[in-house]
Subunit: 351 residues, 2 copies
DNA sequence: GTTAATATTGGCAGCGCTGCCAATCAGGAT
DNA sequence: ATCCTGATTGGCAGCGCTGCCAATATTAAC
């Protein structure tokens, strides 16, 4: 963000002079509605939840009182008195990496249709932080907790196994799930990417990636990629790892550095499409012709990669579906299982 | 998403054969901890919340029992018994538009530091849906509700004014807030963009945008932009509006269509950077030289726009700060006010 | 008209935790 | 040893709603 943004002209500035009245907690309760409608509390409860039986006349009177008083049910009390919270907790590594907003998007539509709510918090790829956030989430007695991948602290695993709620591990398949798992194999994605580049005849292949320690799924892709290259007899020529999160800029810088050391690479595999786009822009800016001088391969299948002058070769991952399917399993209270949604290799014009 | 993704090789497929034991709701309660530690319930409560006084010895015994039993406090019960839920509700139009994940990101770090949780739902730019989702959110008695902009249905406004929780309207300043507002003026951003293009000498200016009815903030920018062009005597030459959400692809197609009708435009203003990047890619692909043949101007200041071969001229908006400041105001329970975070014009190489 | 079913309805005990208040305890002053 | 002050502690009444069950109203069947 900018340090000291220019205040927009025409905008109100700083603290407005007009101070609205402070709100007073309006606490219309079920009991008040019942009194106003001249019926019992349980009747109001039944009408509002459309559960059990009541006459049409009663229904109308109750609804009128609800309207009149502006009653808003209190789900905190409702949850405590009954069973499920209908809250689904997401503990995700990041919101900068488009993968996670996509997963949330897929899940939220399903959850909203089923009267559930999504709660989330961001670990910033820190397992300790994840543990603390999972604990905080469990305090809300959610219907389910959704996490990225299988790498968790012992403490997190212990909580997850002890809790009564469902657990869904997302976007990975290379590991053993606590309960449900929805995603695809990152190791396989890495292998498929390597096979593709080899089949197309590339031999001196490099890698530009971001922090593999923290983003373990990127690490698994890298592992599968190197393994395949190695067993084909053409091991990875060199790699350039950016310490922080992935970004277009670090992809660009990473490729620049890598090429400075290894000017004769014929292909580069990137940890994801953001990084790959940065590499692509570097080539455009330097006049490196793609793919004749250098091939570029990414991961994720972002929309933007299909609209660049040369479409990006990449692996398309079912991010939105991952969220959607995970949410569907949870609302259906499906038995423990592992769902492989697969991925798709997109052959663009950069390879 | 892909229709029928190839299952990843090496991944487990479909329903796994191994069925884990179903969970049984482990309900360790405060009372059980108290019994195990040999103290009263209120003592356990005080220790866990680190509130009130208790001896070190008592503290240790309680913590041991908590550890032993794997007790997880129940915030549902806690909230019902005491005051605030420490839940902050976000009702946002979209998760595809990077703006909103950025706002959530800014807010979530502040909220997590202050032991609050973020709940969200997505309206898909539909005011009726927003109303239903706000109602659902209020049922959780959140500390605050955060919404995009000032355009809400009468029903939504009524609920918002009647509720006891704080209301924050984000990313807009052109309207009157219910309670708090944090953002910047979109109309001003449009005006500033137009002034800039005029000052640089552009005269035949076009617009490529997305659905203005639903994205009212984009509509306000467009309004400010046209107004300034008009009063300078160089009214908008033409415009191309894509009916759906903004995307790189629709920016590219939009520019193509616009140029087909108006081949002699000298500059195009886009509804945001995604659209502008699409336009930029179109020019790259068609060999239209930028900015000599055509200038391109965006909105948002995405990182990617700084790394393209020619950095994109745009308006940088404080999206993450908007979320952060909004969260700070809420946790501090600040009085009603309007905060203008401004924006910054970035002069890239596309104008 | 009467009994048996069935449809409606109200009462009330919690759900698990916190806030309030009274009770108990530990030290120090007298 | 006795009293006083402040630190600790436990008991218990709700928070607002739902689930269970008994009570009452309706309608069908005889």
């Amino acid at each position: 963000m900018s340090k000291a943004p220019t205040p927009s002209d025409g905008g109100l500035s700083g603290v407005s002079a007009v101070t609205l009245d402070f709100k007073h907690q309006t606490t219309v309760t079920l009991a008040e509605v019942a009194a106003a409608a001249g019926v019992g509390e349980s009747t109001v409860s039944r009408v509002l939840r459309n559960h059990g039986s009541f006459s049409k006349k009663t229904r109308d009177r109750v609804m009128e009182a609800v309207e009149q008083l502006g009653y808003v049910p209190n789900r905190i009390a409702g949850t405590l008195a009954s069973a499920g919270s209908r809250l689904v907790a997401f503990v995700i590594p990041s919101l900068s990496n488009i993968v996670f907003p996509d997963v949330l998007r897929g899940a939220s539509s399903v959850l909203e249709e089923n009267q559930h709510q999504a709660v989330f918090s961001v670990t910033d790829y820190d397992p300790e932080r994840e543990e603390a956030l999972v604990a905080a989430m469990l305090a809300w007695r959610p219907t389910a907790v959704m996490l990225a991948g299988f790498e968790h602290t012992q403490g997190t695993l212990k909580m997850l196994r002890a809790t009564g709620c469902r657990v869904v591990e997302l976007l990975d398949l290379d590991g053993s799930p606590v309960d449900l798992a929805v995603g695809f194999s990152n190791a396989a994605a890495g292998r498929v990417s390597a096979e593709f580049l080899l089949k197309r005849g590339y031999r001196r292949i490099g890698y530009v990636g971001h922090d593999l320690e923290r983003d373990t799924r990127a690490g698994k892709r890298f592992g599968g990629f190197c393994e395949t290259l190695g067993s084909a007899g053409f091991p990875l020529a060199d790699r350039e790892i950016h310490a922080g999160a992935s970004s277009v800029e670090s992809g660009r810088l990473g490729l620049e550095r890598l090429l400075a050391r290894q000017p004769d690479l014929d292909a580069v595999y990137f940890s994801n499409d953001d990084m790959a786009l940065g590499g692509y822009f570097h080539c455009l800016a330097r006049g490196i012709s793609i793919p004749s001088q250098l091939a570029i391969f990414g991961y994720n299948g972002l929309d933007i990669g299909r609209v660049t002058p040369q479409p990006l070769s990449t692996i398309r991952t079912p991010r939105v579906s991952t969220g959607r399917v995970a949410a569907e399993l949870v609302v259906a209270n499906a038995p423990p299982q592992v769902i492989d949604l697969g991925f798709e290799l997109i052959e663009g014009a950069t390879t």
